[in-house]
Symmetry: C2
Subunit: 296 residues, 2 copies
């Protein structure tokens, strides 16, 4: 097996090479003056199972080269070409909210489905779609971050209280709390008028002396987390821990969050906040999919 890593994520790539007993694929990449990509595969791919690890964070500048690489591996005789993308882009535009909007999740899924034999990702943003199979026509495996986060909480936070910022987050937070064998509370919003909303912890007494732990799938602007932490501080709780599966950190989000909380992410998007390892379940998913696709 060969693992290619066109958009450098050397930490995860080397873990996958080790866990899958694979070899690192060797690529030559450069740009022509007009911005075109030059791409050459230096590894012998004939009859090899090939995996491309390509994080689809900032997808527009990466996707064309990714499709070219998949095409080249097939041209060079690869037996299979799989995609590992811990952050799967274009999952949020899953409905035409306004007339004329691009429902980008669909053409993006068609492009990847046409280029790869299978797909592995971590907690994609499944909101209106129940499963990737609704838009992806290739087999896929979704690695769940909840058990990895729960395990990290158990081994790093002695006395945690999981916090959901709103009722929408309850299902996810309660699931992580159960796996971590920890209590959880969801913030309550009380609306007294158009501009008079109070937010409170339902049981402040049992929260004292515990480390509040906020968990979210994507930290983008960080606004929800910042608001929530402000309320916890006002209630006199200790410094919070903010955990995200995918740390996008738009603009000043990271520096703002680290002022008020310890920020921790999974290694889905490479970032200095990465503390939660995702390589083992990704490697297991690749192995499962290779078995499935080899059978068919």
């Amino acid at each position: 097996m060969l693992i290619f890593n066109p958009d450098s994520d050397p930490a995860l790539a080397s873990q996958l090479v080790r866990l899958l007993d694979a070899q690192a694929g060797i690529l030559e990449q450069r740009r022509f003056p007009d911005g075109e990509s030059y791409l050459r595969v230096h590894s012998d791919c004939a009859d090899q199972d090939c995996v491309i690890l390509c994080n689809l964070f900032h997808p527009d500048e990466r996707t064309l080269r990714l499709l070219f690489l998949a095409d080249t591996l097939r041209d060079c005789g690869a037996r299979s070409v799989g995609l590992v993308t811990p952050y799967l882009a274009y999952m949020r535009q899953d409905k035409r909210f306004q007339p004329g909007e691009c429902v980008s999740s669909r053409p993006f899924a068609r492009l990847l489905s046409g280029a790869f034999d299978y797909l592995v990702t971590v907690d994609p943003h499944l909101h209106r779609y129940d499963s990737l199979d609704e838009i992806y026509s290739i087999p896929s495996r979704v690695v769940q971050a909840a058990p990895l986060i729960a395990q990290w909480i158990q081994s790093h936070i002695p006395n945690p209280l999981l916090i959901g910022p709103d009722s929408e987050s309850e299902q996810w937070v309660s699931h992580v709390a159960e796996l971590a064998d920890a209590p959880f509370q969801v913030l309550q919003k009380e609306r007294r008028g158009d501009y008079d909303v109070s937010v409170s912890l339902p049981d402040l007494g049992s929260a004292a002396e515990r480390t509040p732990v906020l968990v979210d799938d994507i930290i983008s602007s960080g606004r929800t987390m910042l608001e929530t932490i402000k309320h916890l501080q006002a209630a006199g709780l200790p410094r919070a821990v903010a955990i995200g599966v995918h740390g996008i950190f738009a603009g000043e989000a990271y520096s703002q969050l680290t002022e008020v909380a310890d920020v921790v992410t999974t290694a889905c998007i490479p970032h200095l906040s990465n503390q939660i390892d995702i390589a083992a379940p990704i490697a297991a998913a690749v192995q499962q999919l290779l078995t499935v696709t080899a059978r068919s």
Copy 2:
């Protein structure tokens, strides 16, 4: 008819709107924090012939959004979706020169052919392919820049001498010279040893008093033109005019060239050197293709 212009080339877009008696399509575009494109078409496309003007200079960052836009126009009921790309990218990697190289012209052609009904471009780099039809499965029209360049020379350079930098350029230069009713000469290389090459004008006498005019399809590093101009200067000829169909101008190419020559390009790639208009033959090609595709 609606003309969309996602990667701003307002000058050419407004010319095409006028020449094709079309309307400017209205687009809303922005980026999400993770780099995804948001795209919304504000024009009513139902049963409309739609044309996307998208220059594929720096293709990697533009292609995904271009494919999304084509998909959205179809979703919104467009009767046809055509592509006008004055600079067609990924034409140069037309052969596997080394093992493992991506022959990018082919997967790129497949992507565009899957998204559009037809394609109009200006002088694509056809080297090993005789025609776009070898790799593009949709109808296409190639606008020839030679007559436009010849016309520009006739109306701007009183006493021109067209210069070909080497024997490879002879066919192209002689064609422009014929159309411009002007003389031409091709530089002769005489090799006396590995490091002893002399370059000379075959008929220096008849070149005196004439303005040397260099013509090339792509000005990228500008190296060939700079070398040629150096030789013309050494031979005592007047300041040269350097004309390119596609002005890519890598690095310092433009400032280096303007030091020794007047630099002129067609409007294929928007640049301050643009002086040669390409809108009329592009509009005519679109009209031809609409007739062809409507018939089939």
